[in-house]
Amino acid sequence: MSVTPAPQRRTVPGHQSRGAAIRIAGLVKTFGLTRALDGLDLTVATGEVHGFLGPNGAGKTTAIRVLLGLLRADAGEVELLGGDPWHDAVALHRRLAYVPGDVSLWPKLSGGEIIDVFGRLRGDLDPARRDELLERFELDPTKKARTYSKGNRQKVALVAALASSAELLILDEPTSGLDPLMETVFQDCIREAKAEGRTVLLSSHILAEVETLCDRVNIIRAGRTVESGTLAELRHLTRTSVDVQTVRPPAGLETLPGVHAVRADDHRARFDVDTDHLDGAVRHLTAFGIRALTSQPPTLEELFLRHYGDELAGERRMTDGHLNGARANGGEDR
């Protein structure tokens, strides 16, 4: 069986709206002639860490702003913590903490002041937790926000969010400015939040981070959900890359079911195979005498590339877990 490529929606069953922290169905949001969200579906179960993926301009930030009641939905259903994000904004905001993708702070206030402002407005500032996080993120709270770097501004927002007791964390590319050391601290904090039973919606471009942290992911493109499910479920639907060296020149690979993109020369073949058909392909190859075989399990990157590859190929290549360009043009989805 070969999987038809996107755009096609595949909502993995078993995660229904019961007990969902976030439930979005058929969400549409237009800005003038631009259709930023075009029937988006997203379900985040209570207590899970949910990855929210998509290329620049896919509509992730717009979806988050609808969830926060900052934008009004044009069509579709949106339920946040059992309420309506537009009408119940204030009550719902007591229960969530948000880190924007583009953190803009009041230049005259110090980082410590800003963290306190957010904590007090939310009404659940834990001073001990705040100080602990300041230490872990190595953030100097006495500096004026004007002097902070992008990463430090992000830390201010992160400390403010993580120091709260909010049951839902909505994080829009929270680590795009953090160094690898701080990225580790962030990942620890998210694991702790999960252990405490909090729900996390994590929009990210750092696929390694999503793979490490997330229980389930939702991939969107052009304002529409194209994949959602657990990583295992999504992997099942993808292809493994195989690089094999054989004694005799391998032949007939193209005719096998589920095998794609075959590049074969004298004693070497490289191809992708649907994970379901890996067994058959390897059996076929043994007939030629396998000298060496490396197989690459499908990564999130490949999932990603499968959906966007046609557009991205030639322009951008994925390197060490990042989409090139995703970092460079920091303000995405806007």
Binding site: R65, L70, V99, S104, W106, K144
Partner: protein, 537 residues
């Protein structure tokens, strides 16, 4: 001091084109609106005094009228049409051209740097001083166009050519001096608002110094850039050499800015920011506390400025009566006003001027809502349990209460100075009350800004246009002879000019009701719309 070398200016031409492209609408509006204001007023003056007898009478009423001199300028050939045009249009026109330079330079230098765009520009093959040089070139060009259009307009109106040229050059020269002053201010502080505040303070001081000089023997006017260009005596035996003072001052200021720029880092001012507190003060935990904290500096700045303006006006007020002397024409004017003393009409006009300045604060404070929204700082706040109402109300409360404070500062300054000079401290409550009469008018403009914010957030800048309208009507209304219904659109037309007029409650109450209604409409509109910012296309 290092002299700018060729490489320090590399890229100026390209950046100049960028500035022209980015601000083409703004540039067009300023360079057309300022000359238009002057030319329309001049045309009006011409219609007002058709015969030499009219001019002679006007000259007689103005010559010894300290109030008129304080607001308009020195007495120079007021019995000629050109002299009257310079007298009637000079003060406001010159202030506006200075403001044009200030806003344009501030926007293109420090605001760009604050936004981080200068950093990107400077990472390219661009000289250290090129961005500033490009801004100055464009603004100098705008001033040349303004000067040329003013000259052209006056020549078309049949005014003497030489006088028209000198008058136009005066506008150009003052604008360029203020462009240079703004450039220096932009090196000193890292905050654009403070750049504008500082330059605005210099402009206010310049206006007051020349008022004091013009009422006196003219010596003090030499300390004011506005004084310099008025010393060119357009239409009154023109002389060119005072322009050298303006030119020398401009060159010196640019040299200072250049030296300062070499001593600071990009993004920074001259003073390193001090560390702030580790934790927030208790008041900051509420929207109102935060809004007040964010606007505190601006409120203090405006209040101080208006207070000092009041002190200057109040100080001179006592001399106004002496000026009348035996002037019969003035007696006639007083007779028209009934029992009102000349001092009181002078004070009333002073308070009106201060109220118009205070409106600048009111609008700046109200449009802060849009600034916070567009700057993406509202977004995380509104993601906390703060409702849109609470957030908008917090900034509006500061705008509304702040308006009262700034007005009170003006009344207090005038009252204290006048009271101390005249040994009558009873003037303090009297003038304080007279200043506060403008509260509903200011609130109405806050309401207008709120409506724009709630319904057409991209159009909040129109609130400033409303202030410009009120300013023109308030200062030039009588000269311009606009249709009554147009003038009536300004809330200041419905505010009794205390202490010259009697207090009338009904129009004030009506203004207040309209202000409340506008604010309510704006708030409702904001609750229903999408939060914008850099986000929505």
């Amino acid at each position: 001091m290092t002299r700018p070398t060729a490489t320090e200016l590399t890229g100026t031409a390209t950046l100049t084109r960028l500035v022209l492209r980015r601000d083409r609408v703004r540039i067009l509006v300023w360079t057309v609106a300022v000359p238009l204001l002057v030319i329309l007023t001049a045309a009006s003056v011409k219609g007002l005094y058709p015969t030499q007898a009219d001019l002679d009478e006007a000259a007689a009423t103005s010559a010894d009228n300290a109030a008129a001199i304080a607001f308009n300028g020195p007495v120079q050939a007021l019995d000629t049409l050109g002299g009257q045009v310079a007298f009637q249009t000079g003060s406001l026109g010159l202030v506006v051209v200075a403001l044009m330079s200030m806003f344009m330079v501030g926007r293109q230098t420090r605001a760009e740097e604050e936004a981080g765009r200068t950093e990107l520009i400077r990472s390219m093959a661009v000289g250290r001083h090129a961005p500033t040089a490009a801004a100055l070139l464009v603004v100098a060009g705008m001033n040349v166009v303004v000067g040329a259009l003013v000259t052209l307009g006056l020549v078309v109106l049949d005014l003497p050519v030489v006088g028209s040229v000198v008058f136009g050059v005066s506008f150009c020269a003052l604008g360029i001096v203020f462009a240079a002053i703004t450039t220096v201010a932009a090196q000193i502080t890292e905050n654009t608002r403070v750049v504008h505040g500082g330059t605005g303070a210099v402009l206010g001081l310049a206006f007051v110094l020349r008022a004091v000089g013009d009422i006196g023997d003219g010596t003090v006017s030499w300390f004011s850039p506005i004084g310099w260009v008025q010393k060119n005596r357009p239409f009154a035996g023109e002389r060119w050499w005072p322009l050298l003072v303006a030119a020398a001052c401009t060159i010196a200021l640019i040299a200072v800015a250049d030296a300062l720029a070499d001593r600071r880092d990009i993004g920074a001012g001259l003073v390193a920011p001090r560390p702030g507190p580790r934790s927030a003060a208790p008041g900051l935990g509420r929207p109102l506390g935060l809004a007040f904290r964010l606007q505190r500096g601006s409120l203090i700045g405006w209040s101080t400025g208006v207070f000092l303006t009041g002190v200057a006006y109040g100080w001179v007020a006592d001399d106004v009566e002496e000026f009348i002397g035996d002037n019969e024409a003035i007696r006639d004017v007083i007779a028209q006003y009934g029992e009102v003393s000349l001092t009181d009409s002078y004070l009333a006009r002073s308070l009106l001027t201060m109220a118009l300045i205070a409106t600048g604060y009111a609008i700046q404070s109200a449009v802060r809502l849009r600034g916070e929204e567009a700057g993406l700082r509202a977004e995380p706040l509104l993601a906390t349990p703060v409702s849109r109402h609470q957030w908008a109300a917090s900034h509006l409360a500061v705008a509304l209460a702040g308006s009262v404070i700034v007005l009170a500062a003006g009344g207090l300054g005038t009252g204290l100075a006048y009271g101390i000079v005249g040994h009558d401290l009873g003037q303090v409550p009297r003038l304080l009350g007279a200043a506060l009469v403008y509260t509903p008018a200011l609130w109405l403009l806050v309401g207008l800004a709120t409506v724009l914010f709630g319904l057409v957030p991209r159009g909040v800048v129109a609130a400033w246009a409303a202030l410009a309208f009120c300013l023109v009507i308030g200062v030039l209304g009588e000269v311009l002879d606009v249709p009554a219904w147009v003038g009536d659109l300004s809330p200041f037309q419905h505010t009794p000019l205390l202490p010259a007029d009697d207090l009338a409650i009904a129009p004030l109450a009506l203004l207040a009701v309209i202000a409340v209604a506008l604010t309510a409409i704006g708030m409702l509109g904001f609750r229903r719309r999408d939060l914008g910012g850099a986000a929505a296309p």
